[in-house]
Symmetry: C2
Subunit: 285 residues, 2 copies
């Protein structure tokens, strides 16, 4: 049986024992309902560290009241079976009650990077993410933590807070894992109907085609508008954003030649919100 | 000679060696220009831990542009001599450049406790304090840190952020150290002219007298107004606030009998801002 705990003291005791033995600790924070994308992060952590802790916690503070906190998919038994097969050493399972005091009042915010893109429609999202990640880092005290590039803006926010708050943790970004048809793996794909699932891969296809044209020197404004139209024509209900940004600062780019670029998008398909992103590299154009 | 470093890697190496030897680390963060109040915190830390680190850093992010960051008193040589006499094991001396990246973007905020009292005239003060204290804690990684009750609201903000962000650090509050005439020791007392220095002890005297009347059951509103008048009559230029608050939540109290109370004040004397606070304990009234 895989080792699990919801108890902070027990977690700290185990981590302390490992650290006392000079072992390197890897960490993968998740919201559960694990897919191959999560498991790729776990395998990466296992390659980088001697012991790997995975947390499963659907964090209420990163959901707005109208969002899907209550219906977010959960499958603890299935998650533990998958994590055991990968060789995870410990699964940390805090509850809302053991994670937040009723009068919790402290927030970690990352200015700039948290604004724009997903920060527009989800204004408290990155505050919730930055705060819970800081808390989990202080609880687990890992040497290295692995995050997926699928949540690209989140990866940059986490990298920045670790740098700015002097957390002695290495943050590793891992490439997005995709279904055979290109759809980025996401727990929220479970929300898609069969018809929506057929449309969904167009997000990656259109992003990749747009990135290729941008890499060849096309002006961003026209390409992004064309991508927006293509997404709507492909069947997405709404396009929240499609933007070309600098890959590290997220500053808007007018052309890919201005710096290392990242093309990021958020779209809606019925009641489901999907995000994806791809690199834009002029030298590969 | 006392050991000092401005280098984060060297700091972490030394702390790591101590920790490897199973030694308990104590920490006292200061802005320098040390007086007996600071040294009392250092002695308390020495009593609580095996090794004590003191930091000296005048933190720019807790000063507003119009405040006294540039003229804040500094005396590194004198500070090091005092710390050496106390038996401090290591003094950490970061610079603004090694503490903050030019594009620093991450802030720690504590809602509620940071609002009101000093938070009204110094709206970014506690954000700056909470952020630099979190950074220093992550750099030094102490087991215990000692803060003065003189900065009472700050002490509560630090306690709360440590609790809310799960920092594995014990926060110890130490009673205010006073001059023989009752004036709370403060680096800013150096700003006072001889005439102002003569007036200054009236702050503690009036707070103590008011606290005694509140402890005997007097209604706060009338007593606080009387204290405000007494402060102005004693010669203070301006009374920023005199308030009776709950000692832990800082919620306003109408009578001392409603809970464990704390009477807090901020006054101006010429160009100098002074703060002080005293406990209000009904059973001692």
């Amino acid at each position: 049986m895989i080792a699990t705990t919801g108890d902070l003291e027990e977690l700290r005791r185990q981590i302390g024992l490992w650290r006392g033995d000079g072992l390197k600790i890897g960490f993968v924070p998740t919201m559960g309902y694990l897919h191959d994308g999560h498991l790729a992060l776990v395998r990466r952590a296992l390659a980088l560290a001697d012991r790997v802790v995975v947390s499963i916690f659907v964090n209420p503070t990163q959901f707005a009241p109208h969002e899907d906190f209550e219906r977010y998919p959960r499958d603890e038994r299935g998650d533990l079976a998958k994590l055991e097969r990968e060789g995870t050493h410990l699964v940390y399972l805090p509850t809302r009650e053991t994670m937040y005091f009723p009068d919790h009042a402290t927030w970690v915010t990352v200015e700039g990077l948290s604004e724009g893109l997903c920060g527009i429609t989800r204004p408290h999202f990155f505050r919730g993410v930055a705060t819970v990640v800081t808390k989990l880092f202080n609880r687990v005290q890992p040497d290295v933590a692995v995050f997926g590039e699928k949540d690209y803006q989140q990866l940059l926010v986490v990298r920045r807070l670790v740098r700015d708050l002097d957390l002695p943790i290495e943050i590793v970004g891992h490439p997005t894992v995709r279904e055979p048809d290109g759809l980025a793996m996401s727990s929220r794909n479970a929300y898609l109907s069969a018809e929506e699932r057929r449309i969904a891969p167009a997000l990656f296809r259109i992003l990749r085609e747009t990135a290729a044209r941008l890499a060849r020197g096309a002006e961003a404004a026209a390409e992004l508008e064309a991508a927006r139209q293509a997404l709507l024509e492909a069947g997405f209900t709404r396009v929240e954003y499609v933007e070309l940004r600098h890959a590290e600062t997220l500053a808007p780019l007018e052309r890919a030649s201005e710096g290392e670029g990242r093309l990021l998008a958020a779209v809606h398909l019925g009641g489901t919100r999907l995000i994806d992103n791809v690199p834009v590299r002029p030298d590969e154009g």
